[in-house]
Symmetry: C2
Amino acid sequence: MEDTNLKDRIKKVAIEHFNKNGYHGTTIRNIANEVNCSLPMIYYYYKSKKELFDEIITNDYLQLLKRQSKKLTKSDAIGFYTELVNNLNSLSDFDRHLYRLGIKVYMSFDGDEEHIQAMDEYEESIYPRHAEILMPYLINPADCTVIVRALIHLLDTLIIEIVVKGRYIPEEDIRAEISLILSNSIKPGTL
Amino acid sequence: MEDTNLKDRIKKVAIEHFNKNGYHGTTIRNIANEVNCSLPMIYYYYKSKKELFDEIITNDYLQLLKRQSKKLTKSDAIGFYTELVNNLNSLSDFDRHLYRLGIKVYMSFDGDEEHIQAMDEYEESIYPRHAEILMPYLINPADCTVIVRALIHLLDTLIIEIVVKGRYIPEEDIRAEISLILSNSIKPGTL
DNA sequence: TTACAATCCTAACGAACGTTAAGTATGGAG
DNA sequence: CTCCATACTTAACGTTCGTTAGGATTGTAA
């Protein structure tokens, strides 16, 4: 993200503020102050406060998710999920804050009805996607539901731990936790 | 919580609003409107908006946590944690919203520095407490760190799933997920 | 040099905010 | 009946909010 470009600088600061203080706690004046530009410049580039927020969530956040998933070199099941979580450790501060803001909206802790609905739809696509990835490796396909659900739950908190609370979790720790769930349930040799 | 008492009715509505709209998104006027009282009545019972919020978090929320932990009849390890999570299924709407608000502050999604610090201190007491509970049952005490951490992570998302997203998770599902982590690590017979 | 679009500013708008001043009802104690 | 604390009100305070009107500056094309 270019720092010379005023429009982008505004968005960058906006993400920091929305992330830190929430939608209502963020003011256009505070953003303008930090960007060191006049107040109406924000309305020059963005129609309103709401549009600025919308663009961040529906553009930048979803783009970040796609960018992260493209990084995956998917080897085996445990390696795949370990990599997915571990990549978050090396997120830039900016991306981490953007991710955090996304989670916040996703959890209905900020934003309004529209955003929450969009996030819900996205979430419903998660379970089948993981089930599809794991299915071929399972010893007992009947256990699929429990295993996938427990896996998603574990992934969720690992993500929250890293992205929301800003902690670093070493790769071997991530692998150990994921293995705890998967190692007894997937076929040997695929590990 | 008495509904005849105006002071309590104000707090009840305040919790709903803080939970739904965040600290900055909640206005004294909106609360007064819904309680159907005049605006200064809120200042008659509470010194300021901040004090009202503080009391909810440091009084009511922590009391709810204690009340929940007292309900536990702690049998075996898996039963203990299953009960802990399952009890959240039967939380009243009011308590669930209060719990959600607490999680929100705990995750630094709302509130200010003081609250977040208080929550961090509380959180640091969690790991040793669970380690202590589980230690006697572990087959290999060297694995303690991984197991306890994975357990806490799993519990966290189960709690979020029920309290934040408002889903119902059947007791057997909770037990299955917790067993997935614990059943291979704790001594047989203690299950 | 002129014309014009893009980029920026100061100053102000009305609305909504947290908060308070100044009072009015009410009901029990003396 | 008087007194007074409790429970409540209307009306306004000063401040900050999102937003905009109206104009200045700048670089470029004709």
